[in-house]
């Protein structure tokens, strides 16, 4: 299943630097007896593992991460991070619940054994007819009034479906949200970054990242520059990230908006992303640090989710067919991010706000706050809350309706819908020594959205936008090695 890459925001541990003086070695100096070379500086290791579980048999992720930083002296360092993640469970395929049984073919490579109760591929049971043979052509009316219809599978028999299914079909019971249960994959990602001062007040970083999974590969390079002035109370920063993604869907990338049962496929796809950021960080007083960032990113190429479909319905809400989604081939996003950190004698309060808007018609606001309560010298507890809201993409459709005006782009991907997200959790930390820290956090993330006010008769009583509920548990350990 296509997994989205980890967001490559520029994350630098920038130690502040001044010019390195040219050392004048002295033949009999006490210091030449030193063995404190950079080879003896310990490695800083930061590791963690994430368990993410959505309720209702949906997505489950286990993701261990390890990050190693080597200090080469003179404020130069190399950081390397390795991430492994394994994904399983079911993910919405974009179709909406129905009052009748629905059958879908899985597009991924892992084949499913149909259970004893599910309809066979070659039979002519009622369910089979509805899902394959009985599907009518989906008709559209263009702006000029012309009626066009997409080809469908009505002339093909049930037997042909099994050849194209790339694994057995899966059945969805009435009233249930259709989930593709073969959402299974493993991903490996590596990233590395070199940081060094380039003058008394400037620091530079350069890095790269690579990730790979069955149907997706990503390669990126990044660079960042920061300039301190005003006695290091003000810092200006700028960064850029360039990324190339290869999308290699299992079974091939589908022809957009084509009838799902035809399995019309095209070749592998790709996209390029350019990300730019500028920021200013200001120390206001001994207790207050503030950072403001503005970023733009532009993505060009294949933006679709190759496995997502939409339900195509008649005016009463009966299923006619399913079609693959289509999104524009570019996307530009702008966001502004403002973070404030307040230090009390022992505790720390962090609050941030982000506003994002893109050319797909989506805008979002995120407010994130956490309060770190120090309990003695070794323990802390940190409650956390994150409130998120996004509007839907212009081309987001819960489903398509026969006879509606033709749309060039349509997607039922819940990620592009209008919804509210809330995260609440707590983190606890224990530090047995200055160089070690154990942490554990438990959070719950909930997405709630609204179904449309008016629904056709066949959809009434169905929960068309059930949202999402997920448990997040992460354990972490930092140490020196």
């Amino acid at each position: 299943m296509q997994l989205k890459k980890m967001d490559t925001t520029l994350r630098l541990q920038l130690a502040l630097a001044s010019c390195a003086l040219i050392a004048t070695p002295s033949a009999f100096s006490a210091t030449s007896l030193y063995d404190e070379t950079s080879a003896n500086k310990p490695l800083q290791v930061d590791s963690g593992v994430l368990f993410y579980q959505e309720s209702g048999g949906r997505v489950q992720v286990i993701e261990p991460v390890v990050d190693v930083k080597k200090d080469f002296g003179d404020d130069r360092s190399l950081t390397t991070k390795l991430i492994f993640d394994t994904l399983s469970g079911g993910s919405p395929n974009g179709a909406i619940p129905s009052k009748s049984v629905q059958t879908f073919a899985t597009p991924s490579g892992s084949s499913l054994q149909p259970s004893a109760g599910s309809p066979s591929n070659t039979g002519t049971t009622k369910e089979n007819e509805r899902s394959v043979v009985a599907l009518k052509a989906l008709t559209y009316t263009t702006a000029s009034g012309q009626v066009i219809s997409t080809p469908n599978a009505s002339t093909t028999g049930g037997g042909e479906t099994s050849e194209r299914a790339h694994g057995g079909p899966y059945t969805v019971q009435p009233g249930q949200l259709p989930l593709d249960p073969s959402f299974q994959d493993e991903r490996v990602a590596v990233s590395t970054s070199w940081q060094q001062p380039i003058s008394a007040a400037d620091k530079l970083s350069v890095g790269g990242a690579f990730s790979t999974e069955t149907d997706f590969r990503s390669l990126s390079i990044n660079s960042g520059l920061s300039h301190d002035f005003n006695h290091k109370n003000t810092t200006l920063s700028a960064g850029i990230n360039l990324e190339h993604d290869s999308i290699l869907p299992v079974g091939g990338a589908p022809v957009p908006l084509s009838d799902y049962t035809l399995f019309q496929k095209t070749s592998d796809q790709s996209k390029n992303v350019v990300d730019g950021l500028i920021g200013i960080t200001q120390v206001f007083n001994r207790h207050w640090l503030s950072a403001l960032n503005y970023s733009i990113d532009k993505s060009s190429g294949y933006q679709n989710d190759p496995y997502k479909i939409l339900s195509a319905l008649d005016r009463d809400g009966n299923i006619i067919s399913y079609v693959y989604e289509n999104r524009p081939d570019s996307r530009q996003r702008k966001s502004i991010y403002w973070e404030n950190k307040f230090a009390f004698p022992h505790d720390v309060f962090d609050i941030s706000y982000r506003y994002m808007s893109d050319d797909w018609g989506i805008h979002s606001t995120t407010v994130d706050a956490r309060y770190r309560l120090e309990l003695g010298r070794q323990f802390f507890v940190e409650p956390h809350a994150r409130i998120y809201h996004q509007t839907g993409a212009d081309f987001f459709r819960l489903y398509l309706t026969e006879g509606d005006p033709f749309v060039a782009y349509a997607s039922a991907d819940p990620r592009l819908a209008e919804f509210d997200g809330k995260t609440f959790g707590v983190k606890v930390g224990y530090s047995p020594s200055r160089t070690q820290e154990f942490t554990i956090r438990i959070e719950q993330y909930t997405q709630t959205g609204n179904a449309p006010a008016e629904v056709p008769t066949q959809l009434q009583g169905l929960d068309l936008f059930p949202g999402l509920k997920a448990l997040i548990v992460q354990a972490g350990f930092r140490f020196e090695f």
Binding site: A23, T31, T37
Partner: protein, 152 residues
């Protein structure tokens, strides 16, 4: 015996001298009392990561040159005195420590960054100032100290 006014005056005198001696204890660092010696003044704090690297080196140069009219004086700027004490317990320095929690000495010396060191010659004149500390600075700093010491 003593009149109320006298007692009041005595109490006032004690309070003022105690009060000023409190301030004097942490900001009245008289560099003149070190004339005749080369002094390496180092402004440090428990929260300053490079200071963890500089302290072992300061101990070494104190040991190497302490017998030659030289001393390190480390001035601490921690506002939380306990943190400074923890640091000193860990590094066990052999040279004098001065506490400047309000930063008055740091202000007077014109500290521009943490850590900062000043090398003062035997006449009491500040000859070098050095912001920051890196391991690659050690040889250069030591050469400067040696240039001010009386010839052996």
């Amino acid at each position: 015996m003593f009149s109320a006014r006298a007692i009041a005056r005595i109490l006032l005198a004690i309070t003022i001298s105690y009060g000023t001696s409190l301030f004097a204890a942490d900001s009245e660092f008289n560099i003149d009392s070190y004339k005749g010696q080369v002094v390496y003044v180092d402004f440090w704090a428990s929260w300053c990561a490079p200071c963890r690297e500089s302290f072992p080196w300061l101990k070494t140069i104190q040991q190497a040159y302490g017998a030659r009219d030289f001393t390190v004086i480390a001035i601490n700027v921690d506002e939380d005195h306990q943190l400074a004490e923890d640091f000193l317990k860990e590094f066990k320095p052999s040279f004098p420590i001065v506490f400047d929690p309000k930063g008055k000495l740091a202000e007077k010396f014109g500290v521009e960054g943490m850590p900062t060191s000043f090398i003062i010659d035997r006449t009491g004149k500040t000859r070098f100032s050095h912001p920051g500390f890196r391991l690659s600075d050690r040889d250069g700093l030591e050469a400067k100290i040696r240039s001010l010491l009386p010839p052996q």
